[in-house]
């Protein structure tokens, strides 16, 4: 969910999200079609993303203000984890 929200800071469709996350993680995370489709539906229902346009049955989505707030909150949580993890290394 984090990576999908991160990818949708720019308007993208399902395939675009997969490509973006794959590139961003250096090939480590390849999101599956079922995961992308179901997560987009869940995020849209929660108002964290919104559909913007549809071309050839491909829907574009973009993050909403509420989604951005949720993403920042999650980023802060991860940063805190990262800080605490550094103590171990």
């Amino acid at each position: 969910m984090f990576y999908i929200l991160l990818a949708l800071r720019q308007e993208r469709h399902g395939y675009g999200i997969m490509q973006h996350v794959l590139a961003l993680t250096g090939g480590r995370i390849e999101l599956g079609a079922g995961t992308i489709y179901s997560t987009l539906g869940k995020l849209e229902r929660q108002g964290l993303i919104a559909a913007t346009a549809e071309v050839d049955r491909r829907k574009n989505y973009v993050i909403t203000e509420r989604g951005t707030a949720a993403l920042v909150l999650e980023a802060r949580r991860i940063a805190e984890l990262h800080d605490h993890s550094k103590e171990l290394l």
Binding site: M1, H13, G14, Y15, M18, I29, E30, L31, G32, A33, G34, T35, I36, Y37, S38, T39, L40, G41, E54, D56, R57, R58, K59
Partner: protein, 177 residues
Amino acid sequence: MSTTRAFWLIPFRYTVPADLERWFEQRAAEGLIADRVRQWSSLRMRLNRREPATYRYVVDAQPAPRSDYLTTYEDLGWEHVGQMASIHVWRRAYTGKRPEAFTDRPSATGRNLRFALAAGIAAVMLLVVAIVLAIVAVAADVAADESVQLWLAAGLAGLVGVAVAAATLTILRARNR
């Protein structure tokens, strides 16, 4: 030798999605390929005999898919084999690592729960029908032969309903697979 082979009641015999997928894949490895599934394939599944192939099959329950459902899968390399009621069947030929369509736990569990919900609704409907038929058989002023028919129908609906309810529990127990 026939170019096809039919199998009966496959989605009812393999109710857990992961088991149904493995069934498709094992048949394909034997040279019995599901190239197309249709509405009635849940009762009689016809597979084509040809060279064994390595396919990843994925089943997904989508009662009301959004307009971008098919393209999301197709863009990521999946071929739509068809659908039986709300169950969509997808496949992808591969070598090496077996591809996944559900790459995180919540979406995989969500898929399994959608199967359980569909089966659960069917079970409840069948059991309600069985109870209503039994009530009519007891309470209504019907002839003896009609009463027997009503009891038979009630019994049949009840038996199938119990079987589907058991399948629902099996799917729920395997929801994290």
